[in-house]
Amino acid sequence: MNEIQVTSGLLLAAALFMLGLIGVLIRRNIIFMLVCVEIMLNSAGLAFIVAGSKWTQPDGQVMFIFILTMAAAEVSVGLALILQIHHQLKTLDGDAANSMRG
């Protein structure tokens, strides 16, 4: 009974994913949103590693690395944008950025 079930790993990933999701939903601060999206991406990476581990393939980890890359790139662009927005609107309120609607 020292083995870890795949389902446990996936459930952990799912739980983290949902926490990230709830974070995106409830936080109005754009930085928080960005962070929570990172959590979601990370948990997706966890899921890949669980799956890769199940099949004893390196592919899961490879995917995780690419996710990592993407997360880094995304965060950098996102932060640059946040800087911009802070300059423009003097706030980081996601709800405030609603000049386009209808």
């Binding site: 999701l21 995106v24 939903l25 409830i26 109005r28 949103m33 996601g94 709800d95 950025a97 609603n98 000049s99 386009m100 609607r101 209808g102």
Partner: protein, 625 residues
């Protein structure tokens, strides 16, 4: 064979007047207008002579094939037999006389050319109607005369009420025409042709007497006839039609067009004879109409309206005659009626013109001296209308109807009594009219003294309405039957019920007595004791009003058909169906608003949307699995 020229000449005349009328001088217009009809009349004479001299049963001429579709192949072709000969004779001659009359009567009118154009077109249509060898062409003429009637009633179009009268005439007759059209559809369905002769020949073979189809078709044809001839229940248009110029009333609304119904029934007598019940209805309609219209005529004060109601009443006689299968009697009365009624209308027109368009009889009077020729001719016409015995044409024609309504094979005592009552009323209102107009004191100054153009046609017509009666004399009077013999190849003669031959002279005596007593009553009321009629009027005011308004038919129809139609049309002016499509637009906009609400521009909202979408997708998967 110049048959086609008879209708074509007036048509050409009309065409010339329409196209070039405004550029022609009045003289030229008169020449073209009356000349074309005159020529037509001449050709009619010539044709009639040839017809009689060759003792042919019919002449036939086909101008061209009108249509030819799937067995429906009416041609523009004319068929002349004794019946149509009588009709074209009356149409062209009376028509010509009225044209001549009009050249003077209308001389001061702006629409001189237009008037003659319409009149010519009318003559053409009427001739087409009676000469048509098939029902389709007959229908063309039928509608054509309706059109001309419309145009001529509304001739003085600047008066709005004339336009309405014209429209009423057209629409009411069209109701009848609809019935006629449906009758034609049924005829075609049964015979696969609309050729009148073929149908007449086939009908007795195809149907037994009393056949239901024959009955229905007869009634539908009757519907057409009733509309055109202003019989119950479609009589309401004719009095209003008096809005037209007097020659129009004379020609169209007295002499010719309104008798088209009589012609139609006579023409299709083969079908009607297969449907005795329908014939009975014809008779009933005739009897009822003649009495109803007579009573109404009693109460009118407008000279022309009296004549209009009298026309309705007289056509009622014709219908009565048709109803008892007294075909030639009906046609005989038609002819005589055409003469004297045209005469009366023309004379009345002359009176009205002389009195500056005064229509009210109570404002006339004493014209006997001022307008002697008019008076005398009017007197002749009136006597004929009242059927004063022996010397008037009307006596002979009406007497025959009275006699056959009792003694004819389909006759009965009720018809006779109605006819008798009608005759009595007729002579009352006729002489009331005469007394009021020409006797007593002068109430309006006479302006225009009629010239030759007016008097000569009057004289000729007076002559005709006197002499005309002598071509058909009853048994008791020498039994001279040129007219019915002449018509015999087309219209079967009527057989008299047994036992009645002997009392014919009695009937004649009664009829003569009734007519004369009517004159006497009128004399009492309007010459001897002028106040009496007023008393009567006030004592029975409601009845008077009821009769005056033509037994309330107008208001009844108004409430029953016109008002509801106009009401429904008006409330639905904006088209209720459109609401449905507006509703669709509204729904679209509603959806738009709802969905637009989701596009709030708020980021978290959009994320929520995605999450909800995800939940839905997963739930769907769970449910379906």
């Amino acid at each position: 064979m110049k048959l086609w020229l008879i209708p074509a000449l007036p048509l050409i005349g009309s065409f010339i007047l329409i196209v070039a009328g405004s550029r022609l001088s009045k003289r030229m217009v008169a020449i073209v207008g009356s000349g074309s009809v005159g020529l037509s009349a001449l050709i009619t004479l010539f044709t009639g002579y040839k017809f009689i001299s060759t003792s042919a049963t019919s002449f036939h001429y086909q101008a061209w094939q009108w249509m030819d579709v799937a067995g429906f192949s009416p041609a523009v072709s004319f068929h002349l037999d004794a019946l149509s000969l009588v009709f074209i004779f009356v149409i062209t001659f009376v028509g010509f006389l009225i044209h001549v009359y009009s050249t003077e009567f209308m001389a001061d009118d702006d629409g001189y050319a237009r008037f003659f154009a319409y009149l010519n077109l009318f003559v053409c249509s009427m001739l087409t109607l009676v000469l048509a060898d098939n029902f389709a062409l007959l229908y063309l003429g039928w509608e054509g005369v309706g059109l001309c009637s419309y145009l001529l009633i509304g001739f003085w179009y600047t008066e709005e009420k004339n336009g309405y009268a014209a429209r009423k005439a057209f629409i009411v007759t069209r109701v009848g025409d609809t019935a006629l059209a449906i009758g034609l559809f049924m005829l075609f369905q049964n015979f696969h042709t609309l050729n009148i002769q073929q149908i007449a020949a086939q009908a007795p073979q195809q149907w037994a007497v009393g056949s239901e189809t024959a009955m229905v078709i007869s009634l539908l044809l009757l519907g057409g006839a009733v509309g055109k001839s202003a019989q119950l229940p479609l009589q309401t248009w004719l009095p209003d039609a008096m809005a037209g110029p007097s020659p129009v009333s004379a020609l169209i609304h007295a002499a010719t067009m309104v008798t088209a119904g009589v012609y139609l029934i006579a023409r299709t007598h083969a079908i009607f004879e297969l449907a005795p019940d329908a014939l009975m209805i014809v008779g009933i309609i005739g009897a009822a109409t003649l009495v109803l219209a007579g009573f109404t005529a009693l109460t009118q004060f407008d000279l022309k309206r009296v004549l209009a109601y009298s026309t309705i009443s007289q056509i009622g006689y014709m219908f009565l005659a048709l109803g008892v299968s007294a075909w030639s009697a009906a046609i005989f009365h038609f002819m005589i009626h055409a003469f004297f009624k045209a005469l009366l209308f023309l004379a009345a027109g002359a009176v009205i013109m002389a009195l500056h368009h005064e229509h009210d009889m109570y404002k006339m009077g004493g014209l006997k001296k001022k307008l002697p020729i008019i008076y005398w001719t009017f007197l002749i016409g009136a006597s004929s209308l009242a059927a004063l015995p022996l010397v008037t044409g009307g006596f002979y024609s009406k007497d025959q109807i009275l006699w056959l309504s009792l003694a004819g094979e389909h006759g009965n005592i009720w018809f006779f009594l109605f006819a008798l009552l009608g005759a009595f009323i007729t002579s009352i209102y006729t002489f009331r009219m005469l007394f009021l107009t020409f006797f007593g004191n002068e109430k309006t100054h006479v302006g225009h003294i009629p010239g030759n153009g007016i008097t000569i046609p009057l004289l000729i017509l007076a002559g005709l309405s006197t002499i005309g009666g002598f071509i058909e004399l009853p048994h008791s009077f020498g039994h001279f039957t040129v007219f019915s013999n002449f018509l015999n190849p087309v219209l079967p003669s009527v057989s008299v019920q047994e036992g009645f031959e002997s009392i014919e002279w009695m009937i004649q005596l009664i009829a003569a007595g009734v007519a004369l007593s009517g004159v006497y009553v009128a004399y009492i009321f309007y010459i001897v004791k002028p106040g009496l009629s007023e008393e009567l009027k006030t004592s029975a005011a409601d009845l008077h009003k009821f009769w005056f308004n033509g037994w309330g038919f107008d208001s009844l129809y108004d409430k029953l058909f016109v008002k509801p139609f106009v009401f429904i049309s008006d409330i639905n002016k904006k088209d209720i169906v459109d609401l449905f499509y507006d509703g669709l637009v509204w729904i679209s906009n509603f959806f738009n608003r709802i969905f637009s609400y989701t596009q709030s521009g708020i980021l978290r909202w959009y994320i929520m949307g995605i999450v909800i979408g995800g939940i839905l997708l997963l739930t769907l998967g769970l449910i379906k699995n």
